[in-house]
Structure formats: C-alpha cells, structure tokens
C-alpha cells in the first residue's frame, strides 16, 4: 500500500486496514522527526490549512496546529466564538469564504454528526474530521491504536476495554472501528444508560461489571464523562459512578494484571480514574498526546500528497 484509499479523513469506518497501517508506518517516521533537535520538515510548505473549530478543544487543536507547523504548512485558525457563525452564516458559506482565500485543507470539529462528510461533498478541499458530534473522531482513534501498538508491540489479538460514557462518545465509536479493523477484541463497560442498546451489532462485547471487565482486558481506555452533553441524569450521582466504574489503584491491584491505562483527555481526575492511576507506570496518557502529533502529521502528509498541483 503506497497511498491512502481515501481523499478525506472523515471517519475510521471508511478506511481499510492497509490505510491504517500506512498511517502508522508514516507516523513512525514522524515520531523520529519530532524527537530530533530540529523538529521541522518542509514537506507541506506550499499547503495552507484552515483549522475550523466550531466546538471547544484544547488538545486536538494544539496537536493539529503543532503537527501542521512541524510540516511547515501555513495555517489559519478559526473558532466559532467571536465569528460570523453567531450572525447566522451557514457552514458551507463560512467554509467557502475561507476557501476563497486559497486554502488546500480543512481540519474541522463540529457539534453535528456528519458535518465533515457534508462538507466533503459540498466544498473543494481536503477535509480532516477532528470530531463531529457523537459520530467519529478518527485521529483520536488512530493515535490510541498507535499508542497500544507502541506499548504492546501490536494491536492484533489484544483485549481492549472501553469504559464509561459510550453514548456521547465519538472517541468510542472511532476506537471500535479502528481496533476491530486491526484485529483487536473490544469490550465496552459502563452503566446501561450510557451504552447504546444495539452497539453489540458492531461486534463488541458489553459488560456491566467493571471488575470482570478489568480481569478480561489488556488495555483499559477510560473515557471522559461528558457532563456537557447530558441533558438528563444518566446515573444517580457522580459518587456512585466513581464507586462502580472509576479506576483506582485498589481495583488495579485486585486484578493482579499489568493493564495499560489510557484516557483521551481531558481527565476528570477522581471520576474516570484517580490521580495515582493517571500518573502511574501503567498510564500511557502522555504518550498518547505525543503520538497524537506524529499520527496527525502522518495523516496530513498522506492526504496532502493527493493534492495535485
């Protein structure tokens, strides 16, 4: 496989296993680049990228921005607050106005599922989805799988547990697609109210007993409880959630297994996991952040190579 089978990165669902492997092997090279004294390569020096964040983001936005700068791309940033979106401009109009300034690639986060796909069908530009509603967050899933591969040697055959707010999580959905394509086993765990009813049809196991699930897994990916997306109560109290599904040192010691702990960030410390777990040897949370830059460089490099002059 020498090039991606897609022209946009809209979701993991559209990717082939070979695409993911190509992104990983390219990311290996970029990981080497970002650990050099001078962390910059000139590959994308004639590409302009617009980062459109219609929804808040810290990590993803910084990570994309850094990746673009490391590739020498020119970038413009846009966030919905303080923009004409508030004045009622439509998404296509906003983006077309930005593209009129000769932009080659758009990285977009939006609160509506399918926004990236909609855009890819309506504007002439390469689109990279940086999260669309509760649908997909492909680069997060790629960096999660890349981090597992780095820590455990491969993803194939590994047992990955995704814990928490599956219902509101685009990270969960992209992770399921990505891990399944790479041959991992996936189990979901959380309160019934936060696990979509028919999610089992994607070929994943569902377990509501957290200790049983921990016993089963090699990797535990602790998702953030998205309080901001909850309009009703999904569990009686945060304290009860922590008792049942929060990852603590005691629970980890009880299963007597070396489990790799992941979190896509931002962490609600003391909710999904306690500080001693987040900062422990088992945790690869900061590796995920580092790998995020390399994986995003790989994605943008491979997509940019399809932009013809």
């Amino acid at each position: 496989m020498e090039q991606l089978s897609v022209n946009h990165l809209l979701g993991i669902k559209d990717l082939k296993k070979e695409d993911i492997e190509l992104i990983f092997s390219t990311a290996d090279n970029f990981k080497d680049v970002i650990n050099r004294p001078i962390k910059k390569v000139p590959s994308l020096r004639d590409i302009t990228v617009a980062n459109l964040f219609f929804e808040n983001s810290t990590r993803t936005k910084l990570s994309f921005e850094l990746a673009q700068k490391r590739l020498s791309a020119d970038i413009i940033n846009f966030s919905a607050s303080g923009s004409s979106v508030k004045k009622g401009e439509t998404l296509i109009d906003t983006v077309n106005n930005i593209l009129a300034m000769k932009v080659d690639m758009v990285v977009m986060r939006h609160s509506s599922a399918g926004a990236a796909k909609f855009l890819s069908q309506n504007v002439k530009s390469v689109i990279v989805n940086a999260g669309d509603g509760a649908h997909e967050h492909p680069t997060q899933a790629l960096l999660d799988a890349y981090s597992i591969r780095e820590k455990l040697g491969s993803v194939k055959g590994k047992k990955v547990l995704i814990v928490g707010d599956i219902l509101h999580s685009r990270v969960a959905l992209s992770n399921i697609f990505c891990l399944k394509k790479l041959g991992a086993e996936v189990m979901l765990c959380g309160p019934t109210s936060l696990i979509p009813k028919f999610i089992g049809e994607l070929g994943v196991k569902v377990e509501h007993d957290f200790m049983k699930a921990l016993q089963w897994c090699d990797v535990a990916n602790m998702l953030r409880i998205q309080f901001e997306r909850m309009d009703t109560k999904f569990f009686p109290s945060t304290r009860e959630y922590v008792m049942q599904y929060g990852l603590t040192r005691e629970k980890l010691e009880k299963v007597k297994k070396n489990i790799v702990v992941m979190h896509p960030g931002p962490i609600n410390r003391g909710v999904e996991l306690t500080s001693d777990v987040a900062d422990s040897q088992n945790s690869i949370i900061l590796d995920q952040v580092e790998n995020g830059v390399a994986v995003r460089m790989a994605v943008m490099y491979l997509l940019a190579s399809k932009i013809k002059r």
Partner: protein, 182 residues
C-alpha cells in the same frame, strides 16, 4: 536491452579501497569525522566504507543513516506519494566533519535534500560528499562530490544502478538504456 556492466566486482573492490585511502589521506585519525549514508542505497555504501576503514586504518568511524523523504523537492509532483524510510543517527553532527555518502550522484537534488535534512541534527564544521558513481553532465544543481568512485557519461534516458553483494548477490554497477540509442 541487456544492461551493460560498467564496473565489475573486481574493479568495484579496488574503487572502494581507493576511496577509503583518499579518506584516510584527508581525515587522518578520523577523530571528529562521521559518515552519513543517504537512505536507502547510500547507507549500504556507508556500511562498506565503514568496514573497509576498519580494515585498512583500524578506525571505527560512526555511521548514520539519513532519510531525506520529507526534504525532497518533488513532493506532490509525482504520481505516488513519497514513503519514508528510517533515519538512524545516534550522534550529534554539531562541529563534526561530515562525509555524506550516496551511491549515485545524478541531478544533485537528493544531496540538496540531504544537506537540508542533516542540518536538523546540528551544525557540522564541514561537509564533504562521497559518491560511488558520478553521472556528470546531468546536474540540475551546482553540487559536486569530493570523492568519486567513477565518473560516468550518461544521458537522461539511461539509468545507472549500483548493486551490492549483500542485497543483489554481487558487487557491480550496471547501466540500463530505456530507449534505443541513436
């Protein structure tokens, strides 16, 4: 058309040895000298040079392997994307005398990219270029080698390939003609 052998394995070994003696003359005890092979084929030459220097001068010169993919100037100008290979440089280039090593010097664009890529590892005190085959008359950029195995006259439609005992089974240099020569 059958490729023409322009350097056979016997001449190959002599040239390799002669290049090493030239290096010894210029670099003495190699105390501040490092070799950097341009991936993928220049690294093989780098390894052979390193080995040969061990034999004839009893010195162990550090060898790095530099991938230049991200520094090339033809990104998005070719049909296929450019895929990278690994870079292995576990020393700092700062204040070192660098000998850049590649198998064939053709347009000079690879070496331009290599110079660019190498600067990511520090500011060398000097950089020299060693190539096994110099296809003169085909340069796009003002780049010349300090140490040349053999100068070859060729035209653009021809292709020169350096083969190695470790990868192709025999040390030799071949010239392919893609069109019938007029």
């Amino acid at each position: 058309m059958q490729p023409k052998i322009i350097i056979n394995s016997k001449a190959f070994k002599l040239i390799l040895k002669r290049l090493c003696y030239e290096l010894v003359e210029q670099h003495g005890d190699f105390s501040d000298t490092v070799l950097i092979g341009v991936q993928p084929r220049g690294s093989i030459l780098g390894e052979r040079i390193q080995q040969e220097l061990k034999n004839i001068a009893k010195v162990d010169v550090p060898l790095g392997k530099l991938d230049i993919t991200f520094f090339r100037d033809d990104f998005r100008r070719t049909e296929k994307p450019l895929l990278a290979r690994t870079t292995e440089i576990d020393f700092v280039v700062e204040n070192k005398k660098v000998i850049l090593v590649d198998d064939v010097l053709y347009t000079g664009r690879t070496i331009r990219a290599a110079l660019d890529g190498m600067l990511g590892y520090g500011r060398p005190s000097s950089v020299e270029l060693l190539v096994f085959v110099d296809r003169r008359f085909t340069r796009d950029l003002p780049i010349e080698a300090n140490y040349v195995g053999k100068r070859v006259d060729s035209i653009d439609s021809q292709r020169v390939s350096v083969e190695w005992a470790t990868t192709e089974g025999e040390d030799k240099v071949l010239m392919f003609s893609t069109e019938k020569e007029k």
